[in-house]
C-alpha cells in the first residue's frame, strides 16, 4: 500500500523532476567540474587543471574591476530601491486613485530589460534626447551621460530603480495592508503625527518585508547584465563592466574560455550563497518561513 502510494506520488513528480534534474541540478554540478578544467568552446578534450582558473582570477584585474563595479552598483542602488517604493507605497496605501497610480508605477516592470535599456538610451541621447534638452535648459549644458565614467553607472542605477520600483511597491502595499488599522488610530489618539507613526509603527512592522526586498535586490544585483549590455556594454572604459558581463564576454565573445568563466560563476555563486544564507538566518527570527 505504502509502496503504491510512493509510486503514484513519483508518477506525478516524474516529468518535473526530470526537467529539474537535467536543466538545474546537472548544469550546476557540471559547472563546478568545468571550473577545474581548461574547457573551451568546441574543444571536447578537457584537461583537469586544478585550481588554475581560480588562481588566474586572483590576478585578472578586469575581473576585479567587474567585481568592484558590481559591488558598487549593489550598494549604491540599495537605498533608492528600498526607500522610493516604500515612500510611494505609504503615500498610496489609502486614497481613491490607488489602483490607477499603482498601475502607472508598476507598468515599467512589465517591460523587458532590453526595452527599458533602449528607452533610456533614447531618452538620454546627448544630441536629440529630450532629457538633455530640458536638463540643458535648467543647468545650461547637457552631458553625454552614458559615455562619461562618472555618470554611466548612475544612469544604470536610475534605470533599474525606474524599472523595478513598481514591483517592490506592490510588495510593500501587500505588507502595509497586513498592519492593523487600529494601531494607527490609537497612535493618532496619543497625538502621534504621520511621520511619528511611520517610524514607530510602519517601519518596525514592515521589517520582514523590508528584509525580503533587501535580499531579493542584493541577489538580483549581483547578476546585473541586461541594463549594462544595452546601455554601455561595460564602458566607457571598464567603468560599468559587471561580473556577468565579464563572464559573458569570457565565455561567449572573446575567449570562449568555458573553464575560466565557470570559475567566475562559482565565485559569484559563493557570494550570493552567503547573502542567501544570511537571509534565512535573519528571516527565521521574524517570520515562520
Amino acid at each position: 500500500m505504502a509502496r503504491r502510494r510512493g509510486l503514484t506520488a513519483y508518477g506525478f513528480l516524474a516529468p518535473g523532476l526530470l526537467l529539474f534534474a537535467a536543466f538545474r541540478v546537472y548544469p550546476l554540478l557540471d559547472g563546478l567540474r568545468l571550473s577545474f578544467t581548461n574547457a573551451r568552446l568546441g574543444r571536447p578534450a578537457q584537461a583537469f587543471v586544478g585550481l588554475a582558473n581560480y588562481e588566474r582570477l586572483l590576478e585578472d584585474t578586469r575581473f576585479h574591476v567587474s567585481l568592484w563595479n558590481t559591488l558598487f552598483y549593489t550598494v549604491a542602488s540599495t537605498l533608492p530601491i528600498l526607500a522610493i517604493p516604500l515612500l510611494l507605497a505609504v503615500a498610496l496605501n489609502r486614497g481613491t486613485m490607488r489602483t490607477v497610480l499603482r498601475g502607472a508605477f508598476f507598468f515599467p516592470f512589465t517591460l523587458s530589460v532590453v526595452t527599458v535599456g533602449l528607452t533610456w538610451l533614447w531618452l538620454l541621447d546627448p544630441v536629440v534626447g529630450p532629457f538633455n534638452y530640458y536638463f540643458g535648459w535648467l543647468v545650461g549644458r547637457g552631458r553625454s551621460w552614458l559615455s562619461e565614467p562618472g555618470t554611466a553607472m548612475w544612469v544604470i542605477i536610475a534605470t533599474t530603480v525606474w524599472w523595478v520600483a513598481g514591483y517592490y511597491l506592490v510588495i510593500y502595499l501587500a505588507g502595509l495592508q497586513d498592519i492593523p488599522r487600529d494601531l494607527y488610530e490609537s497612535a493618532a489618539l496619543d497625538g502621534a503625527g504621520a511621520i511619528r507613526s511611520f517610524w514607530a509603527i510602519t517601519l518596525p512592522l514592515l521589517r520582514p518585508v523590508l528584509l525580503f526586498v533587501f535580499v531579493t535586490h542584493i541577489i538580483g544585483s549581483f547578476q546585473i547584465f541586461g541594463q549594462v549590455f544595452v546601455l554601455t556594454q561595460g564602458g566607457p572604459g571598464d567603468s560599468t563592466r559587471t561580473v556577468v558581463q565579464h563572464l559573458y564576454e569570457t565565455a561567449f565573445q572573446n575567449f570562449f574560455a568555458f573553464g575560466a568563466a565557470s570559475a567566475m560563476a562559482w565565485v559569484l555563486f559563493a557570494i550570493i550563497l552567503v547573502f542567501s544564507l544570511l537571509q534565512f538566518r535573519l528571516l527565521r527570527g521574524h517570520t515562520e518561513l
Binding site: V25, L101, L111, T115
Partner: protein
C-alpha cells in the same frame, strides 16, 4: 482638523499624480517617437505630439524585407517560446506540487527541500554548463532549446507557489471523490486543478513574463537571426543602427510591450496577487 486633512490629502494626491505622469513619460516618449516620420524624430526641441503621425515604422519592423523585418519574426518566436514555457511550467509544477502537498511518500521532504533550495541558484551561474548541455542535445537555435531551460528555471517557483495553494484545499472534497470511486489522477484533474485556477493563472502570467523578457539565455543559445526572440533582436538591432534610426527600434520596443500590457490589463488583480504570493506568502 478634517478640513486640514482633506487639503493635505488632495495635495498628496496631486503630487503623486504628477509623479506618476513623470514616471510614465519615458514610455510615452517611446510611443510618440515610434509614431513620427524619421525626419521629425531627431528634431530639437523634442516634440511630444507626433504630428504628422505615421505607422511606417511599425509596418517596416513587422512586414518589410529589410533587416528590421527580423522584429516581426522575433515577435512570433517570442510568442511561441513564452507560450511553450507557460504550458511546460504550469503542467510540470502542478503535477509535482500535488503529491508534495497532499500525499505522504518516502523522500518527500528531501525532494521538496532540493527543489526549494534551487531557488537560490542564480541563472548566471549555470549559463555555461547549460550551453554545453543544450549544444550537446543539438538544441542551439531551436524552440526547445529556449523553452525547456526557461521552464526549468521557473519550475521550482511554480512548485512552491502551487503547493502553498494546494495545502489550503479542504480534504473533505478529496475524500468524497475517493469514496465515489475516483482515482488519484481524477481527483487531481477534476477537483484540484479547477479549484486552483486563480493561482494557476498567476503562475502562468509569471512564467509568461519571465520567458517573454528573458535576455541573457537567448542571447547565447540562439545564433541564427531568424530564431532570435524579441529582446535579442531588439538589442542587436540597436547595435546595427545609428541614432537617426530610432524609429524602427522604438516601434519594436513598443510592440514588445504590447502582449504583457494586454495580459496586465486583463488580469491586473491577478498579477498583483501573483506578486504578493510570490513575494511574501511564497
Amino acid at each position: 482638523m478634517s478640513r486640514g486633512r482633506d487639503a493635505q490629502g488632495l495635495l498628496l494626491a496631486a503630487a503623486l499624480g504628477a509623479l506618476a505622469v513623470l514616471w510614465l513619460l519615458p514610455v510615452v516618449w517611446v510611443v510618440v517617437t515610434s509614431l513620427k516620420p524619421t525626419a521629425n524624430i531627431i528634431r530639437v526641441p523634442p516634440e511630444w505630439i507626433p504630428w504628422p503621425a505615421t505607422l511606417e515604422h511599425y509596418v517596416e519592423v513587422l512586414f518589410s524585407s529589410s533587416r528590421t523585418a527580423r522584429i516581426g519574426r522575433a515577435f512570433v518566436n517570442s510568442l511561441v517560446v513564452s507560450l511553450g514555457t507557460v504550458i511546460l511550467v504550469v503542467g510540470t509544477s502542478a503535477l509535482a506540487a500535488y503529491p508534495l502537498a497532499r500525499m505522504r511518500f518516502p523522500g518527500k521532504t528531501f525532494v521538496f527541500s532540493v527543489i526549494v533550495g534551487s531557488l537560490m541558484i542564480p541563472n548566471a551561474v549555470v549559463l555555461v554548463p547549460q550551453y554545453v548541455l543544450v549544444q550537446r542535445l543539438g538544441w542551439l537555435s531551436t524552440y526547445q532549446g529556449l523553452i525547456v531551460p526557461e521552464a526549468a528555471v521557473t519550475f521550482a517557483f511554480g512548485v512552491f507557489l502551487l503547493r502553498q495553494f494546494f495545502l489550503t484545499i479542504p480534504h473533505e472534497l478529496e475524500d468524497a471523490a475517493l469514496i465515489d470511486g475516483a482515482n488519484t489522477w481524477q481527483v487531481f484533474a477534476r477537483i484540484v486543478v479547477p479549484l486552483s485556477q486563480p493561482v494557476l493563472a498567476a503562475l502562468a502570467i509569471f512564467a509568461f513574463r519571465s520567458a517573454w523578457n528573458d535576455f541573457l539565455w537567448p542571447l547565447i543559445a540562439v545564433n541564427k537571426a531568424e530564431m532570435f526572440p524579441l529582446p535579442v533582436a531588439l538589442a542587436l538591432l540597436r547595435g546595427a543602427y545609428s541614432s537617426e534610426s530610432y524609429g524602427p527600434i522604438m516601434a519594436g520596443a513598443a510592440l514588445s510591450a504590447l502582449p504583457l500590457l494586454i495580459v496586465f490589463l486583463i488580469a491586473n488583480r491577478r498579477i498583483v496577487e501573483g506578486v504578493r504570493l510570490s513575494g511574501l506568502k511564497g
